[in-house]
């Protein structure tokens, strides 16, 4: 009956597998997608920006991505829309070594390891503004793959990142509980970072598949949150020992709380979040012009 399954290409947010992916990996294994008549083809993009290219051109029907990528893609007229959120709030911020907490004002003149993605400079700018600083007041070191070793080797004073990736890594590789300076406490709206998005043409043509995809995904998230060990095992089965088992386990453990209470609104996008984010982006000149908040997302494919 595998032949009857509809294949969906699901493109990920960046080139390397992450613990975040455990829900759809486990869900595929448990047959949650097959129950909905779907089969997921999980594809990784060459760079973070290519996710939206694949989605926009219809090479992929659905994507795991970030809110900023959706906004930039829409700015370039790519036909993509956010169809669900992944996580509840913003756990991005500045990470420094254990025992060396920093305030925003401390950052002046410091060297900070960053990534060259859409999101980092936007939020860093907002945070620095909180202490009347600008991006020119810090020295940014952009790394291609990982900033954590730079911090562990004291090559930088701080790095940007999220608690359940860089934070986790500080723990597993550096054996330390990193000091974390949350962005949300310094002028950055507390809105979700990660999104599930769909290709507009496909959404219009196959609303049922979209709904089925989200139903299966929601079921997967709930199941994976309840059975973390099973999730980690499924991840390992797929990606062998290219990963550090300790890290993935820790990452998924760190990720589960970010979904908050597993209520009915687990994946529902909320207009207020988008309005706040777009307002901040406009204020800091990250994007030139924005459309109405509701044009970026839809909850039409989520179960009511």
């Amino acid at each position: 009956n595998a032949a009857e399954l509809t294949k969906l290409t699901f493109v990920q947010e960046w080139p390397t597998p992450d613990g975040f992916w455990i829900p759809w990996i486990l869900g595929s294994k448990k047959g949650f997608y097959a129950e909905e008549g779907l089969e997921l083809e999980i594809v990784v993009p060459p760079t973070v920006a290519d996710t939206m290219k694949f989605l926009g051109t219809g090479r992929a029907q659905v994507a795991f991505t970030t809110v900023m990528d959706v906004i930039f893609a829409r700015g370039e007229q790519a036909p993509v829309t956010a169809i669900a959120r992944y996580g509840r709030g913003n756990n991005w911020g500045i990470i420094s070594s254990e025992g060396k907490p920093l305030t925003v004002a401390d950052l002046k003149g410091k060297r900070i390891g960053i990534y060259n993605d859409a999101w980092t400079k936007a939020q860093l700018g907002m945070m620095l503004a909180d202490a009347k600083l600008t991006l020119d007041d810090v020295e940014m070191v952009a790394a291609a793959d990982d900033t954590v070793p730079l911090l562990l080797q004291n090559r930088v004073d701080a790095i940007t990142g999220i608690t359940n990736a860089e934070g986790t890594e500080m723990m597993t590789a550096g054996n330390q509980k990193a000091s974390f300076l949350p962005a949300t406490e310094h002028g950055v709206p507390n809105t979700p970072i990660f999104m599930l998005a769909g290709n507009d043409d496909w959404l219009k043509a196959h609303p049922d598949q979209a709904k089925a995809f989200l139903r299966a995904t929601e079921k997967s998230i709930r199941y994976a949150a309840e059975h973390p060990a099973e999730g980690v095992a499924a991840f390992h089965e797929l990606y062998a020992k290219a990963f550090d088992e300790k890290y993935i386990t820790q990452q998924w453990t760190d990720t589960i709380p970010l979904f908050g209470a597993m209520g009915d609104d687990l994946m529902v996008n909320n207009e207020a979040d988008w309005t706040a984010l777009l307002a901040a982006l406009t204020k800091f000149g990250v994007v030139k012009e924005v459309a109405a908040p509701t044009t970026y997302f839809t909850n039409a494919y989520l179960a009511k």
């Binding site: 597998p17 999980i42 594809v43 060459p46 694949f54 590789a173 290219a242 550090d244 890290y247």
Partner: protein
């Protein structure tokens, strides 16, 4: 005796090289107290390889196939291109600058476009590996074609040879030597091409994907295990090119045609 000795030396040197590299590596990790997340010790890597043997071997097979098909495609395409460019001065004059500047464009910058056009399958990966081999092959084969002695061409023309026959018997074989030197130079390097190709948009896991995954989250033992397999792959590909050269250009390695080749004359009269 002296031949045996030479062969032995040929095997001894790479072995010594291997031992030196491993010893130097172990020593460096030890003496400079390099942390594990920067560089693992040889033992760490050996353990990781033993642990994850099936996945690594499967990845090796996958990457090897990508390398092989892409390498062949690139070599053939480069060869055909060079022949076409050789046939016409304007074509050569126009394509040459394009080829040269194209080398400065990082493959990663165009890999998304490639995937969008060619899908997530093998095709874009082969194209990327092929691109690595393409340029040196074109340059060297062009050189080879241009260096054919005009007198030989005149001679075979005087024997009534057609244009095609001249190409087949004189020009074509003259390209083999430069062709193989291009292939040798790019053999190991196109393994890197295969790795980059796997980063392009991979659904399936070769060694390149393995490396990226391990590297992304500081699994340095995994990263170095992948590097070891890539080095092995590089060596294998280099040896494959050497072997192909040995078989396809017998006149360069021996003084006599090989017994089973079509051009070997077997004496039926038993002279």
């Amino acid at each position: 005796m002296s031949d045996r000795h030479a062969l032995l030396l040929r095997l001894v040197y790479p072995l010594v090289a291997l031992i030196l590299v491993i010893a130097g590596w172990a020593l460096a990790v030890d003496v400079f107290e390099i942390p594990r997340y920067v560089m693992p010790s040889p033992m760490d890597v050996a353990n990781h390889i033993a642990d994850d043997w099936p996945a690594l071997v499967k990845g090796f097979g996958q990457t090897f196939m990508e390398f092989l098909l892409g390498f062949l495609a690139g070599a053939i395409a480069g060869f055909v291109f060079a022949v076409l460019m050789d046939a016409s001065r304007p074509v050569r004059g126009i394509l040459y600058p394009i080829l040269i500047t194209s080398q400065a464009i990082p493959i990663v910058a165009i890999s998304a476009a490639l995937t969008i056009w060619l899908g997530f399958g093998l095709a874009p990966k082969l194209v990327i590996v092929a691109l690595v081999v393409f340029f040196p092959v074109v340059v060297n084969v062009l050189d080879g074609l241009a260096s054919v002695d005009k007198d030989i061409i005149n001679l075979v023309r005087s024997m009534g040879a057609s244009r095609f026959s001249i190409f087949r018997h004189v020009k074509l074989p003259a390209t083999y030597t430069p062709l193989f030197s291009a292939l040798k130079l790019s053999a190991t390097f196109s393994v890197t091409g295969a790795v980059i190709a796997e980063w392009t948009a991979s659904t399936s896991g070769g060694i390149g994907a393995y490396l990226l995954q391990a590297n992304s989250r500081l699994n340095t033992a995994g990263t170095f295990a992948a590097i070891v397999f890539l080095a092995l792959l590089g060596l294998v590909s280099f040896l494959l090119v050497i072997a192909a050269e040995y078989w396809l250009t017998p006149w360069r390695s021996g003084s006599k045609a090989r017994r089973w080749s079509s051009s070997y004359w077997k004496d039926e009269t038993g002279g």
